[in-house]
């Protein structure tokens, strides 16, 4: 027998059943009807294999022993923020100790509530959990008020214990022996790119009262990773499982002519699977699957295809051949004034064009998934993916089944840097196709060349920049025309090869719930507010070779750390450094002249002071483009990303005769507003900084007329420890901003323009494309 009562919580109803004779304590959910409850429940109603995100219990379980289990559909296996910052955000909002959160469930589509991509992890993704925690906190206060007989306004909470009127009760005691149901308002489409969003405005803890956010709590997932106890995606083994490898087509447009015959004598247990143009090989052991797939590949015949310009012709092709007309141009919302007359009447001006290559996400381990298509039609996919609910939708679409029948389980894995935030990294659909064909679970791991040749890439770009300034060094006009192919191809590549349904290729208008567009959005917020005339435009086009490829594949692109913003910030900041040099003004002074934004000024001054920056004009007095004597230089860059201000200084050196550029020191200052976890932030910034130096010095995906030719770490070199400079990270904590910014990946993008500006400072020669490899550098120095 149970007694039932109702409590009014923020205009809603909390249902409480108190069990007279209860065994275990339960917190199976609160039922609080939020203000949007009625209009939102229809969309949020859960199907099979889903949690009901409108129940607080889908987000948290608060146990009678005061421990808490937390669930999030956002996936971060790259920086593991869910195991640090997310826990801190939740613990803070609930007013419980950080250590009270003893379990984090991340990403599994049948065990987590909200879905959505893992971009904007703190500023958007974290808000769902934070609001769910805030609703829960309010409901707990109401329960405590009733239990203690004290007005809610008189209650305080510390470490999960509510006090008031000389009495106290813990959260565990409040929820023990009761069934509570709290419904929170959510909206959205679970398996879209965006997932579900918690709505409404529950009262949240004032930032001035924070005690958990701001401390460097240890990352709780690290110990298992360093002691080999973590269950990585590579470790998943399910009963009756076969190992699979895929024989990918010979080019990005080849169709199958004939399948090579399997040598059954050497590979007696292997089996070949063909679906459309997809050739797979499965075997009971991994080594047999690898050997058999290589043997079959050698004898498999494909049509020839040549539909790409080749990387040496890339930017010429983009300038002269690409269709920039079909897709509408975009304009920055910060555009103002009239740029043409301002540039015409400027006392001096710069007009320059900048180029970025294709770059690979290049996870350190290739994409991997176990697909398990069961006889009852249920499909399990074990993988690591930055948008598992979207993958669930994509797999359902490929198979023509309901999303209710698809379950995605997520494990730790190699970082993807955005490659799978649209729901797939490559192996997932192929594992499902092979599993369905053979009627057993199949584990597909791509080999290193597969992962470089058949994955998406960060798109190339061209930017034409014009800057005019007056005699005092104030910019009077800034014009930027940014050109970039579509950068979010979320199609399943195995489905494309097999001829199975998947979403459309990026086009002007994406499907509802998708972001696969050719429109080139302006992603780099303008920060120089004192410039009176600004005209930034974005021009987009289709992916190279995609329409001409019989497989509809070609060079597929995908968002990668600071997507779009890297392609726009690099030319902006490098051009501004060049303009400063031509104006005879120090690069930091020049930037300070163009802004009244206090936060930008703060990071610029911080990076100047921390880096040993020499305030002077550029190039430096000892600059030289020739000779065997080392020369050195300094460069600066800034960025506003996700509400966070960044400034970076790179000091480089090189011997002009060799063209080998070395970065000696990298200093970065960041003001994210509220700092959640200083050590975690420092480490992610350092990582981004080094990845950015890798972009600056090494990274360029090469390709010929048929496909990608960067196939391993020798043909796609990245930064090594030998190149690591002295790194200084300056973190500015400004809680009064009232928000936690995000985007520690900004450190990636800042390096490229700062290194190029430092190269100019050292040599007096502008290098306007990436990467700064010796051969290109020598061309620049001789120009």
């Amino acid at each position: 027998m149970a007694t039932v009562n109702r409590i009014d919580v923020y205009g809603a109803t909390l249902t409480r059943r108190q069990f007279v004779k209860a065994g275990g304590a339960l917190f199976v959910g609160f039922s609080l009807a939020g203000r949007n409850f009625l209009e939102q429940t229809a969309q949020a109603s859960p199907g099979k294999n889903s949690l009901d995100a409108s129940l607080a219990s889908a987000w948290f379980e608060i146990h009678a022993d005061n421990t808490i289990l937390m669930r999030t559909g956002k996936v971060d296996f790259g920086q593991t923020t869910a195991h640090t910052a997310y826990k801190q955000i939740v613990a803070e909002e609930l007013s419980v100790p950080y250590e009270a959160i003893t379990a984090v469930v991340m990403g599994d589509t049948d065990r987590t509530p909200d879905g959505g991509f893992s971009a904007g992890f703190l500023e958007y993704g974290g808000l769902n959990l934070r609001k769910a925690a805030a609703y829960t906190h309010q409901a707990l206060l109401d329960l405590a008020a009733q239990k203690l007989g004290v007005e809610k306004s008189q209650l305080t909470v510390k470490d999960g214990v509510v006090s008031g009127g000389g009495k106290r009760v813990s959260y565990g005691e409040l929820v023990a022996k009761q069934q509570l149901k709290l419904t929170i308002p959510v909206t959205g489409d679970l398996t879209s790119m965006f997932g579900l969003t918690v709505t409404g405005n529950p009262p949240m803890k004032p930032t001035s009262a924070y005690t958990i956010i701001g401390k460097s709590f240890a990352n709780s997932v690290t110990p298992s990773k360093v002691s080999a106890k973590e269950v990585w995606v590579t470790d998943v083994r399910v009963p009756n499982m076969l190992h699979g490898r895929v024989v990918h087509p010979r080019t990005l447009g080849s169709t199958l002519v004939s399948v090579g015959e399997l040598d059954k004598k050497t590979y007696p247990n292997a089996q070949v699977v063909v679906k459309g143009n997809l050739v797979g090989v499965v075997a009971p052991t991994e080594w047999e699957a690898i050997g058999a797939s290589q043997q079959v590949a050698a004898d498999t015949k494909w049509t020839d295809w040549k539909g790409l310009p080749g990387h040496a012709q890339l930017h010429k092709w983009l300038r002269e051949e690409a269709d920039w007309k079909t897709t509408p141009a975009t304009k920055s919302e910060k555009n103002r004034g009239d740029v043409a007359p301002a540039l015409a009447s400027a006392s001096k001006s710069l007009s320059a064009s900048y180029e970025l290559p294709y770059m690979k996400h290049a996870p350190i381990g290739p994409t991997i998934a176990v697909g398990d298509v069961r006889p009852d039609g249920t499909v399990y996919i074990h993988t690591h993916n930055q948008n598992p609910q979207a993958l669930r939708g994509q797999i359902a679409r490929m198979l023509g089944t309901s999303v209710d029948n698809v379950v995605v389980r997520i494990y730790a894995g190699p970082g993807h840097y955005g490659r799978s935030n649209g729901g797939n990294a490559g192996a997932e659909d192929e594992a499902v196709i092979l599993s369905k064909a053979v009627g057993r679970p199949v584990r597909v791991q791509w080999m290193r060349p597969d992962d470089l040749l058949w994955s998406t890439s960060s798109p190339p770009a061209i930017a034409n920049i014009r800057i005019g300034w007056d005699a005092s060094g104030k910019i009077t006009g800034y014009q930027a025309d940014h050109y970039m192919p579509a950068m979010q191809d979320d199609r399943l590549v195995g489905a494309l090869i097999a001829g199975l349904p998947t979403q459309p290729a990026p086009d002007v208008n994406p499907e509802p719930g998708a972001i696969s567009t050719t429109v080139n959005t302006l992603m780099d917020p303008w920060v120089y507010d004192l410039v009176p005339n600004v005209a930034e435009s974005g021009y987009g086009t289709f992916q190279l070779g995609q329409k001409a490829s019989p497989l509809a594949i070609g060079l597929r692109d995908h968002s990668m750390r600071t997507p779009g913003q890297l392609q726009q910030n690099y030319p902006r900041e490098l051009a501004i450094s060049e303009a400063a040099a031509q104006a005879g003004v120090d690069g930091i002074e020049f930037r300070l002249k163009q802004t009244s934004d206090e936060r930008l000024i703060r990071v610029l001054k911080a990076v100047r002071d921390a880096s040993g920056w020499e305030t002077r004009r550029s190039p430096g007095p000892k600059a030289s483009a020739t000779g065997a004597t080392p020369v050195s230089g300094q460069g600066v860059s800034v960025m506003l990303r996700s509400g966070t201000y960044w400034a970076c200084v790179c000091q480089v050196s090189l011997v002009p005769s060799t063209g080998k550029v070395a970065v000696d020191k990298y200093t970065i200052a960041v003001d994210p507003g509220i700092v959640i976890n200083p050590l975690q932030l420092k480490r992610t910034i350092e990582g981004g900084a080094l990845m950015g130096l890798s972009h600056a010095l090494y990274e360029e995906m090469t390709f010929d007329e048929s496909g990608v030719t960067s196939r391993d770490w020798r043909s796609y070199p990245v930064l090594t420890m030998a190149d690591v400079p002295e790194i200084k990270v300056v973190i500015l904590n400004h809680p009064e901003v009232g928000a936690y910014g995000g985007g520690s990946e900004a450190a990636n993008a800042l390096a490229v323009s700062a290194v190029a500006a430092a190269f100019f400072d050292a040599t007096g020669k502008p290098a306007r494309r990436l990467p700064l490899k010796p051969a290109y550098v020598q061309t620049v120095l001789k120009a």
Binding site: T80, V226, S227, P363, R683, G687, G688, A722, V724
Partner: protein
């Protein structure tokens, strides 16, 4: 298919696999030692590293028949290795971490962590030979051998910090 015998993390292990099977697949799939990871299969990244007779080796390209009779240490075996070096009873190994592992936690080295198996193996080899390495010696160690040890997340500076911390921990523990 003849049986191949080796010592893995201090214990004699016998496997029956094709003689050209790389050690990595034997460790992961036959012996369920999942510390070493598949990164490239080409000895170009170091994610698969193990110690063979105390020297760092790339298990992704090393045929199992060349490991016969040798002593293989994986990430799982580092605590026991440290216990033995300190003269602690073997039963202690289950309760401790190798100082390199502890330093990796203290310095919060991993981003995704996928490459860190090889990084910790390399650090262990380095600290055995050079108990107090300079930054230059650390950089040389991690960029020599079959290839540089690659970290795509850029944790190199954290690794340098952690190797130096591990050096301090080991000096105290010896």
């Amino acid at each position: 298919m003849p049986a191949i015998t080796m010592i893995v993390n201090g214990a004699r292990r016998e496997v029956q696999v094709a003689a050209d099977t790389p050690l990595l697949y034997v460790l992961r799939n036959n012996l369920e030692l999942t510390g070493p990871q598949f990164g490239c299969g080409l000895s170009q990244c170091g994610a698969c590293s193990v110690l063979i007779d105390g020297k760092e080796a790339r298990s992704c390209t090393l045929p199992i028949n060349r490991v016969t009779g040798k002593e293989v240490t994986t990430l799982e075996g580092l605590p026991a290795r440290w216990a033995a070096q300190r003269g602690l009873p073997a039963s202690e190994a289950g309760r401790i971490l190798h100082p390199v592992q502890q330093a990796w936690i203290d310095e919060q080295v991993p981003q995704c962590g996928f490459c860190q198996n090889g990084m910790m193996i390399k650090a262990t080899e380095l600290l055995d030979e050079t108990p107090a390495p300079t930054v230059a010696q650390i950089k040389t160690a991690f960029t020599s051998g079959p290839s540089p040890h690659l970290c795509r997340c850029g944790s190199y500076s954290a690794i340098i910090d952690a190797v130096q911390r591990a050096s301090t921990l080991m000096a105290k523990g010896r």
